[in-house]
């Protein structure tokens, strides 16, 4: 199935798209099950498992104790024995209490075993800020995970990709970290961009892991982004139509990173803005710049602009947090600089 969607398709939230993808895989494959904190009757704190408990019951939608090392490790053990668990880590910020299971076990077992043991599991987690949840509940951290080999990492920006990537993630024989930004879920209790609700086919389909999408075609400047920041970039690209032709690349996956898509777009425009809600230094934006530098730095007509989270923890007060977050105004300023 391709990424084109009929105009008449129903529109759903990203949260609904995710839970629908999981439900469809669970119907066709009895090895798929879900566990995590509050994934049962509550439906996931951010709605990622809404409705699943009602359909599949407590044997396949398992509420766990607050015990991330325990239940992520249990997911690994179940995956090693051939099941396909979808395990939710409520906030990515909580990785600090369980990262050993994630990077020393989930990510390494296939390699350490010389390819003899597979770990087909999905680790689903909420990321991102913008709603004053402060330093321990607002980070993105995808680059932290991406730095460790052995995990695929997907970062949908919209409902269509979220469902297709979830189905791909469940079917993948590798551990896949599925990072959804709370702001793209379309939650009724959080301000949202209209792009968080969109057309999603009812049938099953996949979105390939490791393939970026050209979310908006353009020729003057390449804006590479991911997750919720893509929504801001698209708003800006549409606003600038007629004055600046902006090409927005939605990475959709961090690992594998679609370097070819980035290079092809920058080869066309010669100008690059990177918009990333994760921390600026030692991270994804630097990796993208290195991708250009490794290939041919002369393809850039102007220095790169990075609109990233500055190297500070996430502050609480709205005025402080929005000072730090990537915003439409900052993206516009960056585009203006590189196209000046």
């Amino acid at each position: 199935m391709t990424a084109t969607v009929d105009a008449g398709t129903r529109r759903v939230t990203t949260a609904k798209a995710i839970s629908e993808g999981i439900a469809q895989e669970m119907r066709s494959n009895p090895d798929v099950f879900v566990m995590g904190e509050d994934v049962g009757p509550y439906g996931g704190i951010f709605g990622s498992t809404g409705g699943l408990y009602e359909e599949f019951g407590s044997t396949r939608i398992i509420d766990t104790p607050i015990s991330e090392t325990g239940f992520i490790g249990a997911g690994i053990g179940a995956a090693v024995e051939g099941l396909r668990p979808v395990v939710e880590l409520m906030f990515v910020d909580f990785f600090g209490v369980c990262f050993d299971q994630i990077y020393n076990h989930m990510a390494k077992i296939h390699y350490e075993s010389g390819g003899n043991v597979k770990v087909p599991m999905v680790l689903m987690t909420a990321v991102g800020g913008g709603y004053s949840d402060a330093a321990q509940h607002s980070q993105c951290l995808w680059a932290t995970f991406a730095h460790m080999p052995g995990m695929k990492i997907v970062v949908p920006s919209n409902p269509y990709d979220a469902k297709g990537l979830m189905i791909s993630a469940i079917r993948d024989d590798n551990p896949v970290v599925f990072m959804f930004h709370k702001g793209v879920m379309g939650l009724p209790w959080m301000a949202k961009n209209p792009r968080s609700i969109g057309p999603v086919p009812e049938e099953e389909y996949t979105v390939p892991i490791g393939k970026a999408a050209i979310a908006h075609e353009g020729s003057d400047v390449t804006v590479v982004s991911l997750s919720i920041s893509v929504q801001h970039c698209l708003d800006v690209a549409e606003e600038l139509e007629g004055t600046t032709s902006v090409e927005v690349i939605d990475l959709r996956s961090v690992v594998p990173l679609d370097r070819e898509a980035i290079l092809a777009s920058v080869a066309k425009t010669g100008r690059l803005v990177i918009v990333d809600e994760d921390y600026k230094s030692f991270g994804l934006s630097g990796e993208i710049v290195a991708t250009i530098a490794d290939k041919d730095p002369s393809m850039l007509k102007k220095p790169v602009e990075r609109v990233c989270y500055p190297d500070v923890p996430v502050p609480y007060a709205r005025v402080l947090e929005y000072e730090a977050l990537p915003t439409r105004d900052k993206i516009k300023d960056a585009i203006a600089k590189v196209t000046a």
């Binding site: 090392t69 239940f71 490790g73 053990g77 179940a78 995956a79 090693v80 024995e81 051939g82 075993s113």
Partner: protein
């Protein structure tokens, strides 16, 4: 009660494991002189040997089937051999050869044998939640297989131990938690790190049957494990066994063990194998000649495994890039 043939078999298995560890120890040190270098020689890296802990592995694994799972700790050889992991492939892995269990990617702390559902981890206690997940899978698939998590007494102070016990008890999963209490967490004595004498109390706190097994006696360990394994197979949920054993050698090879003082000599007097040999001889189940033959056979098998390893090719350097993803 253990029958007489089984008792001789227990002896044979313990002798086999000891022969293995002794041969590895000799070979490990042989080519690290004159300037001892941990990264040098045919077996590079850290080496944690389990001399003294053979009764735990043998008594436990006598209760297990091929499709039962074990997650072991950084000191895994006794468990792997008792579980039935192929001795040639395991040795080749420890020698970093392409014919090894993991094609040379794992090494002695990261042995994976999916056929025997055996794995181990170098991170203290972190294999325990994985065993819980294996038990969850067995339970979901409707088999009567069990999963065993083995860790040292130092690991029982880690969060992963407590989380694993809580989950397994909550979900009544077929898991047997084995704590090998060898009195030492590297150089820190059990009494300096653990405030209770009987660690099985911790299992009681999580609502599961628990027992501390003293004596390092293979038959008593077998019986305690049998009760636990039978209960798990029958759907009765998890058990915690803390088994008091002995670490006769260093935490790792090259550990001078000055911190043990007089206790070291005392520990070596607690060597379980001569004691068991004596018992079997006085019970008329074994003669000196038979014991010598069992040792000779074990040494020959171990030497053959080492020969297999050393005559096997190393991996291609470019294989370093394989197997990050499936």
């Amino acid at each position: 009660m253990v029958d007489n043939d089984t008792r001789v078999d227990f002896y044979r298995q313990m002798v086999r494991i000891r022969a293995y560890e002794a041969a590895l120890q000799a070979n490990y040190h042989a080519d690290k002189t004159p300037q001892w270098d941990i990264g040098a020689g045919l077996i590079p890296g850290e080496m944690h040997l389990a001399a003294g802990q053979e009764p735990v592995a043998v008594g436990l694994c006598a209760n297990l089937e091929k499709d039962d799972a074990i997650t072991g700790p950084h000191r895994p050889h006794h468990l792997a051999l008792a579980k039935g992991v192929d001795i040639n492939k395991m040795t080749a892995e420890i020698y970093g050869r392409d014919t090894g269990l993991c094609h040379g990617k794992g090494g002695h702390m990261h042995l994976f044998d999916p056929e025997q559902h055996f794995s181990c981890s170098g991170i203290i206690a972190e294999g325990m939640p994985v065993a819980v997940g294996q038990a969850l899978a067995f339970s979901r698939k409707g088999t009567d297989n069990v999963a065993v998590a083995v860790a040292g007494e130092g690991a029982a102070n880690q969060g992963a131990f407590h989380e694993a016990l809580n989950l397994a008890s909550m979900w009544k999963l077929p898991v047997i938690f084995i704590i090998e209490d060898n009195d030492w967490a590297i150089s820190v004595a059990r009494d300096s790190a653990t405030p209770i004498k009987d660690g099985s109390l911790r299992g009681t706190a999580y609502g599961m049957p628990s027992q501390r097994v003293e004596g390092n006696d293979v038959e008593m360990i077998y019986e305690a494990c049998k009760t636990a394994v039978d209960r798990a197979r029958a759907g009765g949920g998890p058990t915690l066994l803390e088994i008091h054993t002995v670490r006769m050698w260093g935490h790792f090879e090259g550990d001078a063990q000055a911190y043990r003082g007089d206790e070291l000599a005392e520990a070596n007097e607690r060597d379980p194998i001569p004691a068991y040999e004596k018992r079997l001889i006085s019970a008329g189940l074994l003669t000196d000649d038979q014991a010598a033959q069992i040792k000779a056979e074990a040494e020959a098998e171990v030497q053959a495994a080492i020969d297999f390893a050393t005559s096997s090719p190393e991996p291609k350097p470019s294989d370093a890039y394989l197997h990050v993803f499936a």
